[in-house]
């Protein structure tokens, strides 16, 4: 298990239904455990598609997506969904929270779908709630905010609540899709430091996607999606 890379893409090719040109074509991408990967990609470079492939929401027409040694492409769709909730925490640019749930309920959401995440949250913090509170405290969410409606939180607070959710139950991988781009410069840096610290604390591998190269300093490796994506260079209709 430890020998296997966290993520391994082999000759992956994905085309959106109804389109003739491939959106993504990646010959190889390997991410090892504990890496902090910064994936740079301007908008339209296929970032979201790559993340959906890693989450098992999409499957490639060609090639293989292996996560934690498991071949997502060969799994049944419902198993892929279960796999995602067990092993991957997601964090998006905006609107991460379910508006009708409280802060705590939003954080514990993955544990409603994943027994594994629930068990790990309980073993880490005695109870799911306890672990959620602990993570929220670590991410500087004041206790007074817990009873607020999530729609009343500031964007920065919402992103930190979402980060707590992505980390709850110790998923092996945290995938962050432009989580800082809605924040101002000072807060971007602070949020990034918090996220990296907590990923270290739960020993999660971080895949961080952004169009903002200034943030790359904090990561162990930077991947330019445009550089490894061959789709643009291929003739149309291939």
């Amino acid at each position: 298990m430890t020998a296997a890379p966290i993520v391994r893409l082999d000759n992956l090719r994905f085309t959106w239904p109804g389109q003739s040109a491939a959106c993504l074509h990646i010959a190889e991408l390997v991410v090892d455990a504990g890496e902090r990967i910064f994936i740079y990609g301007p908008s339209g470079s296929g970032k979201s598609t790559l993340l959906a492939l890693l989450g098992g929401v999409l499957t490639p027409q060609h090639g293989r997506v292996r996560v934690l040694g498991a071949d997502l492409s060969s799994m049944r769709p419902s198993l892929r969904d279960r796999f995602r909730s067990d092993h991957v925490g997601f964090l998006f640019q905006l609107f991460n929270l379910v508006p009708y749930l409280s802060v705590i309920e939003n954080v514990v959401l993955p544990c409603r779908f994943s027994a594994r995440r629930r068990a790990q949250a309980v073993s880490a913090g005695n109870s799911v709630q306890g672990e959620a509170l602990r993570l929220l405290a670590h991410l500087d969410i004041d206790a007074s905010l817990l009873t607020r409606r999530v729609t009343e939180l500031s964007v920065g607070q919402q992103q930190r609540v979402a980060a707590a959710r992505a980390l709850l139950g110790r998923p092996e991988i945290v995938v962050a899709d432009e989580p800082t781009s809605a924040l101002d410069a000072d807060r971007q840096e602070a949020f990034l430091q918090l996220l990296l610290r907590e990923c270290d604390a739960v020993a999660a591998t971080l895949l961080f996607v952004s169009h903002d190269r200034r943030l790359a300093r904090a990561f162990t490796r930077e991947i330019d999606l445009a550089a490894i994506n061959r789709a643009d260079r291929e003739p149309q209709g291939s």
Partner: protein
Amino acid sequence: MSHLLYLAGRSAWNRRLTLGLTLIAIALSVTLLLGVERVRHDARESFAQSVSGTDLVIGARTSPVQLMLYSVFRIGEATNNVKWESFQHLAAHPLVAWAIPLSLGDSHRGYSVVGTSTAYFDHFRYSGEQTLTFSAGTRFANLFEAVVGAEVAERLKYRAGDRIVLNHGASDIGAEHADKPFTVVGILARTGTPVDRSVHVPLEAIEAIHLDWQGGAPMPGVAIPAEYVRKFDLTPKNITAALIGLKSRAAVFRMQRYSNEYEGEPLMAVLPGVALDQLWQVVGIAERVLLAVSGMVVAVGLAGLVAVVLASLNERRRELAILRSVGARPREIFLLLMIEAVGITLAGAVAGVILLAILTATLAPVAAARYGLIIEQRYVASGELVLLGAVVAMGVLASLLPGYRAYKLSLADGLTPRL
């Protein structure tokens, strides 16, 4: 599953205004549908129970339904009478166990006056084998005595010993028989039949109050005081109809034929059950139309539900994408939407049943008083259960649509909704 129920509940509560209105629409449509069915069912029941012990109803030739309506249910008026001699002749037939003469046409404050004999109290049966009983007083024994039904006594607050005046004709507009008042001597216990809304007097009294009348009006210059009427022959000349009980029910067709072929005058004998069936055949068309319209109203309510849930889907695409990112399968998204729509349907159905129970409780006395329609107090009858099941089944089918749409959306959107 429980986590989906929880999420569906919280999400629905978040949109409680629109969903609440939809729920009310469904509840009202269910109330309407079940209400139509209940009134239909109970109307049949209360009609059938009104003449349970009678084998034949005899009257002048008319349609069987009309004869039943005026003689038993006090609806409408007789077009022709039966001669007293004819009644006596038929009553004396060896197959006949008992015969109750009925003389109708007068009224008391809107309630029918029934001239009859004491055989009425001995032989009339309703709701199976139940006989008439008195809640107060006794049957009439003298000329100007009256026995009132339970509804009459309750509405007009009559007690034994009260004096009442009859009106000529079926409405209060008719002239009063004010010179010959009656004394209430008995009050019948409630039966749930037209008996409750009747004032019963001796046949001879009907004759007596019309001694000085001719052609529906008092004869000018002639006034026969009450104390002198006994000097006249008060044997009735005509009656309106007769209820006949036979010694053996097997002889009913023989007796019917005998009555129909009676030579003294053209008569008609009908079996109450057969006549009621004819009535329901006629009414049945209207009933089916009413049921169909109520069914349509339910369909409209459910269409509204589907529209509301579908309309909310666009605003909820982010929410569904979040749920997908934390591990919800498309199948679970489908179920989430199903639960919401089916839940609203179920809640609407339950609310409809409760609303109907409240309406029945408040309106049943009015229906009983005004129309003699006895609506039973109950939550759901078996016939209504079938309709309720059909509503829920329709709701489940209708819910497939938003469920399927959400399923497709969440497959297409994945983790990032394309808005």
